[in-house]
């Protein structure tokens, strides 16, 4: 077992993991932050997307030990402490951008990172920027509109 220290949603957490433990399983099974989901085993679906030092990362594609010392934000950490949703979460709600909700945490985290990294995105940019995150329910249109709205780039 290896000792790892992560800052997760603003709080420092120390844990002992096997070197091969995936970051997503450390978050889910060790820290009980189960909002981050696992949807595949080939880094294809993006359900496990979190922010590592502010950038989106598929947490099934990182070992927890690789994240030692990193600042991690999961879906549990993006709303305000008083429960006010993050603007991206609120946009997803207002645009009916989720149905079953399983891809949603990863999609929201990827979208937060995307709009931060690329200001002024248009629809094409959002669609290609999110192509690493799969959704089986929505057909994506409402997700795209939500992200555009949250980015302040239009969308209806």
């Amino acid at each position: 077992m290896t000792a790892v220290t992560l800052t997760v949603n603003g709080a420092e957490r120390s844990l002992e993991v096997e070197p091969r433990t995936l970051l997503v399983h450390a978050l889910r099974d060790e820290l009980r932050l189960t909002g981050t989901n696992v949807g595949c085993d080939s880094s294809s679906c993006g359900a496990c997307t979190v922010l590592v030092d502010g950038q989106s990362a598929k947490s099934c594609t990182m070992f927890a030990v690789q994240a030692d010392g990193a600042d991690i934000t999961t879906i549990e950490g993006v709303a305000d402490a008083d429960g006010t949703l993050h603007p991206m979460q609120q946009a997803f709600h207002e645009h009916h951008a989720l149905q079953c909700g399983y891809c949603t945490p990863g999609m929201v985290m990827a979208a937060i990172s995307l709009v931060e990294e690329y200001p002024g995105l248009d629809e094409h940019g959002v669609r290609h920027g999110l192509e690493g995150n799969l959704c089986r329910c929505t057909g994506y249109q409402n997700i795209v509109d939500a992200v555009l709205a949250a980015a302040g780039s239009g969308g209806d």
Partner: protein, 796 residues
């Protein structure tokens, strides 16, 4: 049915945001793998790597050497747990249907790649996976049947030698029609004869399956948590298979991350975990991996379709004749045999065709079992008739919209008795098509296509139509009986008004993304005059909602929602009696609106529902003989199916140099009857369209000749992303269904049913002047390029 005064126009029809969202958006919702179960035994399933093989030996020594792996159990070892108990098939469609014994873990022979052959019990998720990978199974390979048509070839290897044939059943709708159909074909001015392939599809909800069985610490009771669409049916079936008294079993579906039909089943792992948990007295859990899901969860479609149309000189179709070969896979899961039947009533599509012959032969192959996948039989039927209608249009020399117009069931023909024996409820198919043509700007698109052809452009434009009708709201129980389905089609609801006038609704319908909580709240709130946020919806737990038949077949609103509507009416009836008692008025003189009972003509004489709810609770002054509390239960068995319909138009750009297809516009006009929440309707249509378009363009469960699935993960099995998805442009037209009091029809499968033929018809339209008349699904660049090359004389 009870007639009550309607509340003022309120929530129904509003684009109300979902109450389900906040918990899902913040990660608070608990999916199956999120459940904390300290001390749980983790199950790893060892799956056959052979399509057909005798299991000669199972060596667990390497697995047992792994830290945390505690046991390796073969099918033989596990047989003690379930004896002769086998996984259930609830739909024996014919009296002579062949049903192989389907053990949760195979004992002597593996019948498909993915078939469970042994089980590892471990202390952790990782140990279970490591252990399953380390078990060495000695196989003696046997000849395998992989493709559908090979299964019925002379001398084909048998999937189940004890059944003496690969033919599972033959079912048809033929009556005494055959001579008349033959005559129609003999006299026809135009005959269309087509063969289409429905490739196998992997349902791929974003959440794979999983389950956890937890025995009560006090003993004697078991709770089965499962990522399932059908907790109620699963409870009955688990009790039957394992001989657990049903009253000692509780099934809970936590948040479920999509189903699309593949979680409408009773799976080996659910039985396995339940049996082990009972035996060990400890929680037992299993979570499916994605590549595992590709072979261990049912697949969809898998048919070879032959459709023939006989039409007169004007293109009016006189007869349709259909022969199907349907792939059951290696075993029959819960409703496997019935899927082709659900399409079997609809191969005449939305057209008034008087003569109908349908025959389906279903076969076993050495592949993962098939079963219901979004649309279940109806997308297949719609594909065949809509492709064939386009061929007929070419033969007659008219446009796709004209051939449809000449054949539509007329708006004044409803209720319409179909030649397949159904009574279609309502519709105006021509108005729907006209709206779609206008919205899509078909004339402009065709002009653009002609310009590009004239200019010799390699970027061709194609416009494709699909007009569909589906049977939803499954289903009248007696009709299901006539089809030999093993259960009814009713749905249950309870509505309770608490002493403080908050409302609790218990529904037997089980959501997994559809938004039941939001919609049921809107229905009840409108009727009772309360705020939707004051209506709580309880579901998906057999301890809370003891009766129900769950969610599939676009039945939730039309059946489950109607039950909620009717239970609310019963509550209002009881409240009215109490109000009349309190106001010393006749019930007939009371009106109820906005949550207040008033005496007609005496507006100051009124009592709010809140007062009645409290009076029903205290029971101090109720009418003589009335039971306390304000609560009502309804079990609603629908008198008929509902028949949503619509026309979808796809516009594609096909690159004739590369074969690439881009979906550049998609228009859908759907008639799902009255819409409770258009926001949710549109979301269902969007997602449905993309799932249908994905069958047309991307998705294919590809098997090699050895029966190995070579598209088992999401890198190879192309679930589309936002980058591939088009922007959908929607309109609607409502002909309220007379089948139920709200006039609703259902919309969960509409998009998927309509989309595939619209897209392929568009691809063929783009390439028709090059001689292309058919393109197989999925229309990948390679397939399209080859179709063009073949049509141009085999240049390759």
């Amino acid at each position: 049915m009870t007639i009550t005064e309607e509340a003022p126009a309120g929530h129904i029809g509003a684009r109300r945001l979902r109450k389900e969202d906040p918990a899902l958006l913040t990660g608070e919702s608990k999916f199956i793998d999120d459940l904390a179960l300290p001390g749980a035994i983790w199950v790893g399933v060892v799956r056959s790597t052979e399509a057909h093989a005798n299991i000669v030996g199972i060596d667990g020594s390497a697995a047992l050497a792994i830290d945390g792996v505690n046991e390796v159990l073969s099918g033989e070892d596990l047989a003690l747990l379930w004896g002769e108990g086998a996984l259930p098939c609830a739909w024996p469609v014919t009296g002579d249907m062949k049903t192989p014994t389907h053990l949760p873990v195979a004992r002597s022979t593996a019948k498909y790649v993915g078939d469970a052959v042994a089980v590892v019990l471990a202390d952790s998720r990782y140990a279970a996976a490591d252990g399953a990978a380390a078990v060495v199974v000695d196989y003696e390979p046997l000849p395998a049947v992989v493709e559908i048509e090979d299964a019925v070839a002379d001398g084909a290897p048998l999937v189940h030698p004890d059944l003496e044939s690969n033919e599972c059943y033959t079912w048809g709708l033929w009556g005494d029609n055959a001579p008349a159909v033959d005559a129609a074909f003999a006299e026809a001015a135009h005959v269309v004869s087509e063969r289409y392939l429905q490739q196998r599809l992997i349902p791929a909800p974003m959440e794979p399956r999983g389950c956890a069985a937890v025995p009560s610490p006090a003993g004697g009771e078991l709770t089965l948590y499962s990522a399932t669409q059908i907790p109620h049916i699963l409870k009955v079936m688990t009790a039957v298979v394992l001989g657990i008294p049903e009253n000692k079993l509780r099934v809970v579906a936590p948040s479920v991350g999509g189903g699309f039909g593949c979680k409408l089943n009773v799976y080996a792992e659910e039985i396995l975990c339940s049996a082990l948990a009972m035996q060990r007295g400890a929680p037992v859990r299993w979570t499916e991996g994605r590549a595992e899901a590709a072979v261990s969860t049912i697949q969809g479609r898998g048919q070879v379709q032959h459709i023939e149309l006989a039409a007169d000189a004007d293109g009016k179709v006189q007869a349709v004749r259909v022969k199907l070969l349907a792939d059951m896979g290696a075993y029959l899961q819960l409703v496997t045999p019935g899927v082709p039947l659900l399409g079997g009533f609809l191969y005449h599509g939305c057209y008034d065709i008087g003569l109908y012959l349908f025959e389906c032969t279903s076969v076993f192959t050495n592949r993962t079992p098939t079963d219901a996948y979004r649309g279940a039989g109806r997308p297949e039927a719609t594909y065949a008739i809509e492709r064939a209608m386009d061929s007929l249009a070419v033969s007659v020399g008219v446009s796709p919209e004209e051939i449809r117009a000449r054949n539509f069931i007329a708006a004044d023909a409803f209720p319409y008795e179909s030649s397949a024996g159904l009574t279609f409820d309502s519709g105006d198919y021509q108005v729907v098509l006209d709206k779609a043509v206008a919205l899509a700007g078909v004339a402009g698109r065709r002009a653009e296509a002609a310009q590009r052809r004239a200019a010799g452009s390699s970027k061709r434009i194609g416009v494709g139509f699909s007009s569909y009708v589906e049977m939803c709201g499954l289903a009248p129980s007696r009709v299901l009986a006539s089809l030999a389905y093993g259960a009814g089609g009713w749905e249950a609801a309870t509505v309770r008004v608490s002493p403080t006038c908050k409302v609790q609704v218990v529904t037997g319908s089980t959501p997994h993304g559809q938004g039941h909580e939001t919609c049921w709240s809107m229905i009840v709130a409108d009727k009772l005059g309360v705020d939707p946020d004051d209506v709580e919806i309880l579901h998906s737990d057999t301890a809370v909602s003891p009766t129900g038949l769950d969610t599939y077949g676009s039945r939730s609103l039309a059946v489950g929602g109607t039950a909620v509507y009717m239970a609310t009416d019963k509550v209002i009836d009881k409240a009215r009696a109490i109000a009349a008692h309190q106001l010393e008025a006749s019930e007939d003189d009371l009106e109820f609106s906005g949550g207040v009972f008033r005496v007609r003509g005496t507006p100051e004489a009124e009592v709010p529902l809140a007062g009645i709810a409290f009076a029903a609770f205290t029971a101090h002054d109720l009418p003589d003989g009335m039971e306390p509390n304000l609560e009502a239960h309804v079990t609603y068995d629908p008198p008929n199916f509902t028949f949503p319909n619509g026309t979808h138009i796809a516009v594609v750009e096909v690159d004739t140099d590369t074969g690439n297809v881009d979906l550049i516009d998609y228009v859908a006009v759907d008639d799902c009857g009255v819409q409770i929440n258009p926001l949710i309707v549109e979301g269902q249509v969007h997602g449905g369209i993309l799932q249908g378009a994905a069958q047309a363009l991307y998705e294919d469960a590809v098997y090699n000749s050895d029966g190995q699935l070579v598209s088992a993960n999401l890198g190879d099995y192309l679930v589309p992303s936002a980058a591939e998805a088009p922007r959908y442009r929607l309109d609607s037209h409502a002909t309220p269904s007379p089948t139920n009091p709200m006039g609703v029809k259902g919309v969960g499968e509409a998009g998927t049913i309509a989309a595939a033929p619209a897209v392929i018809n568009a691809v063929v339209d783009a390439l028709r002047d090059l001689g292309v008349t058919d393109v197989d699904m999925p229309a990948s660049p390679q397939t399209v390029w080859r179709a063009i090359a073949d049509a141009q004389g085999g240049a390759s």
